[in-house]
């Protein structure tokens, strides 16, 4: 395990092209995978994958962001940045999970929602807001794994799990470090500095209470079998725990409502 990495080194690792992505976990951990496509409104965004699969003998709904393997795929999927259709597809699939009582497992690796002209025209903000509202009331258990990058609302729109797990070298932040530096200091080249002050590593987030557990990673950033074993063990443990919850929707609402409260003071109502 890599212990003494700086935050910007972890960002580099999280973005490393050979690093196993969400699709590798989905293909490695699930059997009987059936992909569901399209949002039934406008189109299909392949930057989000969704479907039904079997996980240790149980049907589950799986959702993830994906960046694609070839350059052609990369471009089509905007390197893992979903369009509104992607989020609306995810909503459709989550509603179905609710209907059939399937637990939901989500895997996140995206630098954010796609900031394009058409994406705005078709309501990127609306799509993300609706996803958040939907996840706050889903009555089926939900577990999220942040596998690589988790950036901004585009990541959160798939990441409101009852448990949020994070790989050791993954990062999760309010905005990409480049965007952060550009907004705050009008200078995107100060990205390394941004990485340090943003508190975006798994250890930072655990301390801030934004995630529930860190999944350790093997030394080799491209190694897969050992990773799969570790991720599998973590998901199983937490899925078992959240399946025992009486009211997963309420648990999720209260969990996210509590975030940051430790840093508040004052107030009357």
């Amino acid at each position: 395990m890599a212990q003494n990495l700086t935050a910007s080194q972890r960002v580099a690792l999280a973005r490393h092209s050979g690093r196993p992505g969400p699709m590798d976990y989905i293909q490695g951990l699930f059997t009987d995978l059936f992909e569901q496509r399209g949002d039934r409104l406008f189109g299909d965004d392949s930057a989000i994958f969704g479907g039904i699969a079997c996980y240790h003998g149980q049907s589950v709904t799986v959702l993830c962001t994906r960046k694609g393997k070839t350059l052609e795929e990369n471009l089509k999927m905007h390197f893992g940045m979903p369009e509104p259709e992607g989020y609306r597809k995810a909503q459709r699939i989550m509603e179905q999970a609710e209907k059939f009582g399937r637990p939901i497992l989500t895997f996140v690796d995206t630098s954010g929602a796609y900031p394009g002209l058409e994406a705005e025209e078709r309501g990127q903000a609306d799509a993300i807001a609706k996803s958040l509202a939907l996840m706050s009331r889903l009555t089926v258990p939900m577990v999220t794994v942040i596998c690589g990058e988790g950036g901004s609302g585009g990541a959160l729109a798939l990441a409101m799990g009852n448990r949020v797990l994070m790989l050791e070298n993954a990062v999760y932040s309010v905005l990409s470090p480049e965007g952060f530096a550009s907004i705050l200091w009008k200078d995107s080249s100060r990205m390394e500095e941004a990485c340090e002050v943003m508190k975006l590593t798994a250890a930072d987030l655990l301390e801030l209470g934004a995630i529930d557990e860190i999944i350790p990673e093997p030394e080799d950033p491209e190694e897969l079998p050992e990773r799969l074993r570790l991720v599998d063990a973590a998901i199983q443990k937490h899925l078992d725990a959240v399946k025992r919850l009486k009211d997963p929707a309420r648990h999720r609402r209260e969990k996210f409502a509590a975030m940051g409260r430790a840093w508040l003071r004052g107030g009357t109502v």
Binding site: I128, S136, V174, L205, R261, V269
Partner: protein, 290 residues
């Protein structure tokens, strides 16, 4: 008893804040016209009196200049009905972000606000409401933990008292200085609004310039009724980021209130002069008990 004490403490804290803010010496900029102020859009000289009477809307070109939270509230609420709650609710500095504490302190002195949103109860033409107004002078009204909590508590109060909820949104998005915890406020506010709406509450979201980022992608876009001020910039990504992504200039009017209405995301674009009447109309239409 403890509630009374809390109220008193809150008033006291506010008074102290005001007293401090009045200590900041007022010095008019040299060369500033005491009677007229030019419209930044059409360059027409408009008397300060007309700016005031016209709710900060330019009589020439209709530009809606920003108004502060308390100005907005005074335009809307019946006199004597305004009761602010959670005025003393503030956040701290979870990331120990360089310079953030000082920035908050400075802004509190200069604006008299404790945070970027004011939440209150009050009456609009006799209709009781819970109302929240964001103030863009406070770090672009960005949403940190305190803002998220105030919005969520406003929704909770509206649910408990079975009152309509009106939120005037204006924000650059999540507050960078509070990092991931700001992002989580999107989940918190969206949950609270959803719970309120599912309990049968009426939520009117009024989008003002600008409503972007994490605020537009959470509670701002979840209104039962969504209104917008003319010309307000509304979107998820900012125009500069989009231009960088697609490598070309954006068309005129892109992401403006009218554009959003045309694309189906806003019920009506309502000029400030009609704001109160429109809200009263909506409140009246929702006032019949089922």
């Amino acid at each position: 008893m403890s509630q009374q004490f809390e109220n008193r403490r809150e008033r006291f804290l506010k008074l102290r804040l005001w007293r401090k803010s009045s200590e900041v010496p007022f010095s008019p900029k040299p060369g500033l016209d005491p009677l007229f102020e030019k419209c930044p859009q059409c360059d027409q000289a408009v008397s300060r009196l007309d700016w005031n009477k016209g709710l900060n809307v330019c009589p020439g070109c209709g530009l809606h200049r920003p108004v502060t939270a308390y100005q907005r509230l005074s335009m809307l609420l019946d006199s004597g009905t305004f009761r602010e709650f959670n005025a003393s609710l503030v956040g701290r500095d979870p990331l120990r972000f360089p310079g953030y504490k000082e920035k908050l302190k400075d802004l509190r002195l200069r604006t008299g606000l404790s945070e970027a949103v004011v939440t209150a109860t009050g009456k609009i033409s006799g209709f009781p409401v819970v109302i929240g107004v964001m103030d863009s002078r406070f770090i672009m009204a960005s949403m940190g933990v305190a803002v998220g909590e105030k919005i969520a508590r406003a929704a909770l109060l509206a649910k408990r008292r079975r009152l309509p909820l009106i939120l005037f949104c204006a924000s650059g998005g999540a507050r960078m200085q509070e990092g991931i915890l700001s992002l989580m406020q999107m989940a918190k506010t969206a949950s609270a609004i959803e719970e309120f709406r599912r309990a049968g509450g009426l939520y009117i979201s009024y989008l003002t310039n600008p409503t972007t980022g994490g605020v537009s992608a959470s509670f701002a876009m979840l209104g039962d009724i969504t209104l917008a001020e003319p010309g307000a910039l509304i979107g998820f990504a900012g125009p500069r980021v989009i231009e960088q992504t697609i490598g070309q200039k954006l068309p005129e009017g892109f992401q403006r209130a009218e554009f959003l209405m045309e694309h189906g995301f806003v019920d009506a674009v309502v000029p400030r002069g009609e704001m109160k009447n429109t809200l009263v109309q909506l409140l009246r239409l929702h006032s019949q008990r089922r």
